[in-house]
């Protein structure tokens, strides 16, 4: 299941979506908002997305993962909009007959999502300034 949503992520729904009697392992990754990055404090984050391309990229990630690993189900949910510290922006769940596969695949999915899926976050710092986050790009 691939989903981009403005609503809070429902962890139970994500876990249920990958449940399967053939699975021996489920790995769930949640990317959550930290309130501190280095020495700066975050009040909140805003996520935006190029949705048609993001969905296509996420579907491509799922297809590649299924070619590489013996996976039963994959669910990726990314949340957009305004998030507070502690809230999850992304949930990735993988079920597999074996745990090593589930861990490897889950880690590959989040690593690759962070490089290839057109979603951006804006830090709303506690000092009132805002900043789009673009890794590798200086201000």
């Amino acid at each position: 299941m691939i989903r981009i949503t403005n609503d809070p992520i429902d962890n139970n729904a994500v876990l249920e979506s990958v449940q399967n009697n053939r699975a021996g392992a489920v790995v769930l990754f949640l990317g959550t908002t930290r309130n501190v990055t280095g020495t700066r404090e975050t009040d909140s984050l805003d996520y935006e997305c190029f949705e048609s391309m993001a969905i296509k990229q996420l579907e491509a990630l799922e297809a590649t993962a299924r070619q590489r690993w013996d996976i039963i189900e994959i669910t990726i949910v990314h949340r957009l909009g305004h998030l507070l510290p502690g809230e999850a922006s992304v949930a990735i769940a993988v079920s597999s007959p074996h745990r090593v596969t589930a861990f490897e695949c889950g880690q590959w999915l989040i690593d690759t999502l962070k490089q290839e899926v057109p979603i951006w976050k804006k830090e709303n710092w506690s000092d009132g300034t805002q900043q789009w986050v673009h890794p590798g790009m200086e201000d």
Binding site: E48, C49, K114, G136, M137
Partner: protein, 82 residues
């Protein structure tokens, strides 16, 4: 032809718009389009080297062909996922 390019995040901030309108000879390539973008919107020149271009919802290279029906976007370094 007139091309419309979707902008996101810092690119919107720099250009002051979410949709850039560019006049180009038809057809063209992404490489040529980049030059046209910088000419039309100099504010984007400082970020385009860090950005990828997308054509029809796929990452494109400089040689990717662009036609009037192409869906176009400038993709700054992404930061979703956490």
């Amino acid at each position: 032809m007139t091309l419309y390019i979707k902008l996101f995040a810092v690119a919107v901030q720099k250009a002051g718009t979410t949709n850039l309108e560019i006049d180009c000879p038809t057809p063209t390539t992404v490489g040529d389009l980049k030059q046209a973008v910088i000419a039309a919107c100099p504010a984007l020149s400082e970020i385009t080297t860090h950005c990828r271009f997308a054509v029809d919802d796929e990452f494109a290279t400089d040689t990717t062909i662009v036609t009037e029906n192409s869906s176009l976007a400038i993709i700054p370094p992404v930061s979703g996922g956490a």
